[in-house]
């Protein structure tokens, strides 16, 4: 492959998502975008930056605040062979459109005995950390991963954001693409340097269902995803000074879940901390524990540990919110405990 770019081209996660969509729109006239403020505004969290200028109002469609309507319309268009990329502005708004998502988008292929496909992408912003309170800060990926029939991807950085977007659009199944607001590289949020990185200009894919070893280590495995990957990498760097070697697994996809990468790492380190910004009970952390227990609980030198939101809604005041989120301090404390 030839390319004219310099290897140092660095873009934000938001821009990387939009680039992935643009490449697919150029390649496939059946790809179009709809959602609230995805047009001239470019998506509240930048996921459709510059698409409107290139493709116009016919393919980048601002919708009314009618999520059941336009997500359902996405399903219908997908059933007829188009490849819609539909944005639900915040995943928290799933409440007003869940029937279309779970009873239609997720089930049509199965219900039809495999005769109907729904090749659509539903993308939505997740996560907290900036005092947006209980209705605008949730992650909820565990909720969707629990429901059969939806692939769920959750990138943590610009490269994966682009590669997973292209994979999601090309996939013949409904893919829920969840992006963390704090990992978008937005100028108006807390800056996380890992949200701006080198991304190739050309098209490439990151396979759905493959985790990444974001950092190799030998003492403790952190299994995590999304913004918590960035925090865990920061902690891993910090703990070098204490002589602790941390391996960070970025799940990237929840459905399908790459259990092999998780198990291989845990077999190596014997110590595991799962870090999840979603609610603790009945979710990802418990799922990873089950994967390990079903495989070989004797791999663990120390009891399994998890760090997640302690089953409370996300509170507003900073001190309250920081108290329940998996912050770097709590991640570091969890790792130290495993080493003690």
């Amino acid at each position: 492959m030839t390319t004219t770019e310099t290897p140092t081209r660095r873009i934000t996660t938001a821009k990387a998502m939009a680039e992935g969509i643009a490449l697919e729109m150029r390649r496939d006239p059946g790809v179009f975008v709809m959602g609230e403020d995805v047009g001239a505004y470019g998506g509240i969290f930048g996921s459709t930056t510059d698409l409107f200028a290139e493709f116009g109002a016919d393919r980048v469609i601002d919708t009314p605040i009618s999520e059941t309507g336009f997500i359902g319309a996405g399903i219908g268009a997908a059933v007829e062979g188009l490849r819609p990329v539909v944005e639900l502005m915040f995943i928290d708004f799933y409440g007003v459109c869940m029937d279309q998502i779970t009873n239609h988008m997720a089930k049509i292929h199965y219900e039809s005995g495999g005769n109907v496909t729904v090749p659509m992408v539903l993308m939505a912003a997740t996560g907290g950390g900036y005092s947006d309170a209980a209705q605008h800060s949730q992650c909820l990926w565990g909720t969707f991963a629990h429901l059969p029939g939806i692939k769920v991807v959750v990138p943590s950085n610009p490269y994966d954001a682009k590669g997973l977007m292209i994979s999601a659009i090309q996939d013949d199944n409904p893919v829920l693409y969840l992006f963390h607001k704090g990992a978008q590289g937005l100028v108006w949020m807390e800056k996380n340097p890992r949200s701006i990185a080198h991304v190739p200009e050309e098209s490439f894919t990151v396979p759905i269902g493959e985790a990444a070893v974001a950092r190799e280590g030998t003492d403790v495995t952190i299994v995590t995803l999304s913004l918590s990957v960035q925090h865990s990498l920061d902690v891993a760097e910090q703990l070098v000074a204490e002589g602790i070697s941390v391996e960070v697994i970025d799940l990237r996809s929840l459905v399908p879940l790459d259990t092999q990468t998780v198990l291989a790492s845990v077999a190596k380190t014997g110590r595991v901390l799962v870090v999840d910004e979603d609610y603790r009970s009945f979710g990802l952390t418990g799922e990873i524990a089950a994967v390990i227990a079903e495989h070989d609980p004797m791999m663990l030198k120390k009891p399994f540990r998890r760090l997640a939101v302690p089953d409370v809604p996300i509170p507003y005041a900073r001190v309250l919110e920081q108290g329940i989120l998996p912050t770097r301090d709590k991640i570091a404390a969890g790792v130290r405990e495993l080493m003690s």
């Binding site: 605040i65 309170a133 605008h136 949020m189 800056k191 309250l320 919110e321």
Partner: protein
């Protein structure tokens, strides 16, 4: 219907504007140099209501203690006009333990049970709740009413349509208030709504509907008076759409690049100087009064901010409280 008191309407509008202006200042004061929405004494999203005072003031001047309001993500004007305590509300916005919700709710989730006031950040989802409050008032045999407020963007959400039908079917004492400020974030009404007037939708659901142009506080007052009297008397729901004005961004930090020429005429459309001029012309307001009303409002708001900033924060452990009663 309550008698029209023009000076009171004016004072309440000034009070609300003063509040929003000071919150605007305070909100931006400590988010620099690299603007960060989560930083500062007031973190998070901030949707201010400047320009929309006529709707809240005109409606609430007809309410009495015990009547309910459900407001949306842009709630301050209705909260203040409905008698929510300014100190407690401000402390909530500052995330303090003395706040209306002990710092758990924030500016989009203000709950004041004493005044039957609440708001929600999920578009149109206050509509069904208002129906339920109205149902309770009716079953308890009171003449109280519930006012459901949301923007013109919200009127395209299923919950709006379901609520109109329910309220009409069950003759609930609800007043549906739609604040049409022309925009839903960056989406103009012309791109979101098939009907030119939501009053037409009201008639589709078998209830009276009016659309009020020109952000006219007295016209809102009159229309709300009729609707509220009707609801109190058992006549069922009504809808009032108010063509109002979003003077500032959708949220603070919104650069409004999408808004174009609409921005150029904002000052001329500001309802407060316009109403002051109207009142001055009919001799109901003097220059001295303008100054003293502004000074009173400023003093009240400053005191509320002082109360908030001198209040204690909650502690991190408090986050674990109140999941269940």
């Amino acid at each position: 219907m309550n008698p029209l008191n023009r000076l009171d309407l004016y004072k309440q509008m000034v009070r609300i504007r003063q509040y929003e202006s000071r919150i605007l200042q305070e909100y931006h004061a400590d988010k620099k140099p690299a603007w960060d929405i989560g930083a500062g004494l007031i973190p998070g999203e901030m949707h201010l209501s400047a320009g929309q005072e006529p709707s809240a003031v005109g409606v609430c001047a007809n309410l009495k203690q015990g009547d309910a309001i459900t407001a949306p993500h842009r709630p301050h004007h209705f909260a203040l006009a409905h008698g929510v305590d300014m100190n407690a509300m401000t402390a909530e916005i500052y995330g303090r333990d003395t706040g209306l919700c002990r710092g758990k709710g924030g500016h989009m989730h203000l709950f004041d049970p004493e005044n039957h006031f609440s708001c929600s950040g999920i578009i149109a989802q206050g509509y069904p709740v208002a129906c339920g409050q109205a149902m309770a008032f009716k079953r308890k045999g009171t003449d109280h009413v519930a006012v459901a407020v949301a923007g013109e963007g919200a009127a395209n959400q299923g919950a709006f349509h379901e609520s109109l039908n329910l309220a009409s079917l069950w003759k609930l004492p609800v007043i549906f208030v739609i604040e049409d400020n022309d925009w839903a974030i960056s989406v103009p009404r012309s791109h979101s709504t098939a009907n030119a007037s939501n009053a037409d939708r009201a008639s589709g659901y078998g209830m009276p509907g009016v659309r009020i142009e020109n952000n006219d506080v007295e016209a809102v007052f009159e229309a709300a008076g009729v609707a509220i009297d009707r609801a109190r008397a058992g006549g069922g729901p009504s809808l009032i759409e108010i063509h109002t004005l979003r003077l500032w961004g959708h949220f603070e930090g919104d650069a409004q690049a999408y808004r174009g020429a609409d921005l150029d005429t904002l000052d001329a459309r500001d309802p407060i100087p316009l109403y002051a001029a109207t009142l001055a012309e009919i001799g109901d307001l003097s220059m001295d009064q303008v100054a003293s009303i502004a000074a009173d409002a400023a003093a009240e708001v400053d005191a509320a901010i002082t109360f908030a900033t001198s209040s204690p924060f909650p502690t991190a452990d408090d986050a674990l409280l109140h999941v269940f009663a």
